[in-house]
């Protein structure tokens, strides 16, 4: 793609598809802002009501959507590196599991253990058992330090109630 650009940007090869998607997303957010603002009913005698700012921001977003769209049509000047999306999905999976454990009141330590092991695996480690143990020890230390020493309330599950 970058080669085509340097030769004068031939036709559609120069269009930055991600840029177009970003522009559309910005325009959608602008629409959501306006729809939400029109729903608000508030009587403000003088000055601006709570609807005004969302509308202003929406106008800005609409203009920027147009700007991003034009830039995208001109073609991406940035050639993007190849990405490996598997580790990203793995980390996001770890985050989702962590949230589920917290949501089902499974407690802080199991949730963090899972997150630690998932992230370590995403970064290329292939020792899931060892990483689970390390994550568990680390989460336990953090839990004890923060809930006992700093008296922060971290979510407690069956395991944490033992302490």
């Amino acid at each position: 793609m970058s080669q085509a650009d340097s030769q004068g940007g031939q036709g559609r090869t120069g269009v930055d598809r991600a840029g177009v998607v970003i522009a559309i997303a910005l325009a959608l957010v602008a629409v959501v802002l306006v729809v939400d603002a029109l729903r608000i009913q508030a009587n403000v005698v003088y000055g601006l009501g709570p609807q005004a700012m969302p509308i202003i921001v929406a106008i800005g977003l609409a203009v920027l959507a147009a700007g991003n769209f034009v830039n995208a049509l001109r073609g991406g000047d940035a050639e993007r590196e190849d990405m490996d999306f598997r580790p990203v999905l793995l980390i996001l999976g770890g985050l989702a599991l962590m949230i589920a454990i917290i949501g089902l009141s499974g407690g802080f330590i199991p949730a963090m253990t899972v997150l630690f092991a998932a992230t370590a695996t995403a970064f290329g480690r292939r020792a899931i058992v060892a990483d689970l143990v390390i994550g568990f020890v680390m989460a336990t230390i953090i839990y004890l330090a923060f809930s006992k020493l700093l008296t922060l309330s971290l979510p407690a599950g069956p395991l944490e109630r033992l302490f």
């Binding site: 969302p54 991003n68 370590a120």
Partner: protein
């Protein structure tokens, strides 16, 4: 003089044994977290915010000062030893610093960075102490329309200076402004963009956004391109100490760095990126050893590092006197104030002089501690860098989510954190700057309430924005700063076509 009395008072507060402990813990924690690759000072402050939840306000702000400077110092260590600047302000340092480390002069590079940071940081803190009272006097006269205009200037400069195109910077800013709208409108009690989710009524937490964008976003980004980058830690060989010649070549760049950093940081002109690069190019031009530039010239470390620290102290000027954060780190500091219900600004100087001057005095103390602790402990910090990347990022994610869990242990909040992480990842991938989002979130609601207050006072007449000379001037500057990059770009394209 007043300033001396106030500062002496502040010193008395900061030198209390407990506060010294807080400053020390802050400096150590800040350096420890800041030294980790990919973690800049803003994220350091965001990650360590939960540690201060249960402390008293004075102690926790003092700890903050330590974390702030510690995080900056740690960032420069990483930049020099493994060439991964955690933030754009350390990029100039990495240019020459990493070359020096490769040439076996890592010790003097770290030393000139540390001593230069100390010199410039101390000078800048003195500057802060003397400029702040004057600015406070001016700020008292500011009406809501003037504040609004000032925030407009900050919006434009923050989004135009970060990132490589104004459209991208402004897009980031407006994403932040949109997030800032979520929640209950403070003046009328109307919910906005909450979509019936009760947790959204309180609005988006700055820490959740910052940790999601910076920590999660960075982790996802690094994970996605892990196969391409190779990090190599340069061992510190040879002497840690600077030779006589190193000193001779360093002191002028330190002072010049301060002269760039402090004023540009103090003006709402958007962070430390500009002064560090100005300093780098100046040193490159003035040096007597031009042949060394690009191969590890000590001036190229001394100047930018001093500029970086001076501008960090400089950004505290608008933050403390006007409540105006002009960098992501300053926005995090503001969040630190807000967790105790304090709003920095002229009123805070009048209401809580102990707190404000105690904080300023702690900056001096933190600077001294950094100098005393860090050079001897540098071996320890370097060892942190040898933690395998997989465990490092796994640990960072655990810490990052822990902060959110400690603040608001709800599924909605954690989901928001994950969503911001994905957003941060996409913004990195598609080259949108992150800092304007954070500044937009924290400044947007403030700007809105000032604008609405101004218009309520003027009975709805928008001309009030132009009738105050201060506000008219500031709005003019904002407009100019907004339009100028586009005009210049258009002109250069025109010229290119002519050729």
């Amino acid at each position: 003089m007043d300033t001396f009395a106030a500062l002496a008072n502040g010193m008395a507060v900061a030198l209390q044994p407990m506060n010294l402990v807080f400053a020390m813990v802050g400096v150590l924690l800040g350096t420890m977290v800041g030294v980790l690759p990919g973690i800049g000072p803003a994220l350091t402050v965001a990650l360590l915010l939960p540690v201060t939840y249960k402390l008293d306000p004075g102690g926790s702000l003092i700890m903050f000062a330590g974390i702030y400077y510690g995080g900056m110092y740690g960032g420069s260590t990483t930049a020099i030893l493994i060439n991964t600047p955690g933030e754009s302000a350390s990029m100039a340092t990495a240019l020459e610093g990493n070359k020096m480390a490769k040439a076996g002069r890592g010790g003097p590079a770290l030393a000139t960075a540390a001593i230069g940071s100390f010199v410039a940081g101390t000078l800048a803190t003195i500057g802060l102490a003397f400029v702040a009272p004057y600015l406070v006097e001016i700020a008292v006269k500011f009406g809501p329309e003037d504040y609004f205009a000032l925030m407009c200037v900050a919006f434009v400069t923050v989004s135009a200076t970060f990132g490589n195109s104004p459209v991208r910077g402004l897009t980031s800013l407006f994403i932040g402004l949109t997030l800032g709208l979520i929640g209950i409108d403070k003046l009328t009690g109307q919910p906005r963009l909450a979509f019936g989710v009760p947790e959204l009524l309180d609005g988006v937490e700055v820490t959740t956004l910052a940790v999601g964008l910076f920590a999660l976003g960075e982790a996802l980004y690094v994970a996605s391109r892990r196969h391409q980058i190779e990090e190599k830690i340069e061992a510190i060989r040879g002497s840690l100490w600077m030779t006589k010649q190193d000193w001779q070549r360093s002191w002028r760049p330190w002072l010049r760095g301060f002269c760039f950093g402090f004023p540009i940081g103090a003006l709402p002109a958007g962070g430390a990126e500009i002064p560090t690069f100005l300093s780098y190019s100046t040193e490159k031009r003035l040096t007597k050893h031009p042949e060394e530039f690009g191969k590890g010239a000590i001036e190229g470390v001394a100047g930018p590092e001093a500029a970086n620290n001076a501008s960090a102290a400089g950004t505290l000027v608008p933050l403390l006197t006007l409540g105006l954060p002009t960098s992501a780190t300053a926005a995090m500091m503001l969040a630190g104030f807000q967790q105790y219900g304090f709003n920095p600004g002229p009123l805070l100087f009048a209401d809580k002089p102990d707190l404000v001057w105690g904080l300023i005095a702690s900056l001096f103390i933190a600077n001294v501690m950094l100098l005393v602790l860090n050079l001897p402990l540098v071996g320890l910090w370097v060892r942190l860098l040898t933690i395998p990347q997989a465990w490092l990022y796994a640990g960072i994610l655990v810490f990052a989510t822990m902060g959110t869990i400690a603040a608001k242990p709800s599924v909605v909040e954690l989901t928001m954190l994950a969503a911001f992480g994905v957003m941060g990842f996409l913004m990195r991938r598609y080259d949108f700057p992150i800092a304007p989002v954070v500044v937009g979130l924290i400044l947007g609601p403030l700007a809105e309430s000032q604008l609405r207050r101004a218009l309520a006072i003027s009975l709805g007449d928008p001309m009030t924005l132009l009738q105050s000379p201060i506000s008219a001037t500031l709005l003019g500057i904002a407009l100019l700063a907004l339009v100028l990059p586009f005009v210049l770009k258009g002109m250069s394209r025109f010229r290119a076509n002519e050729d």
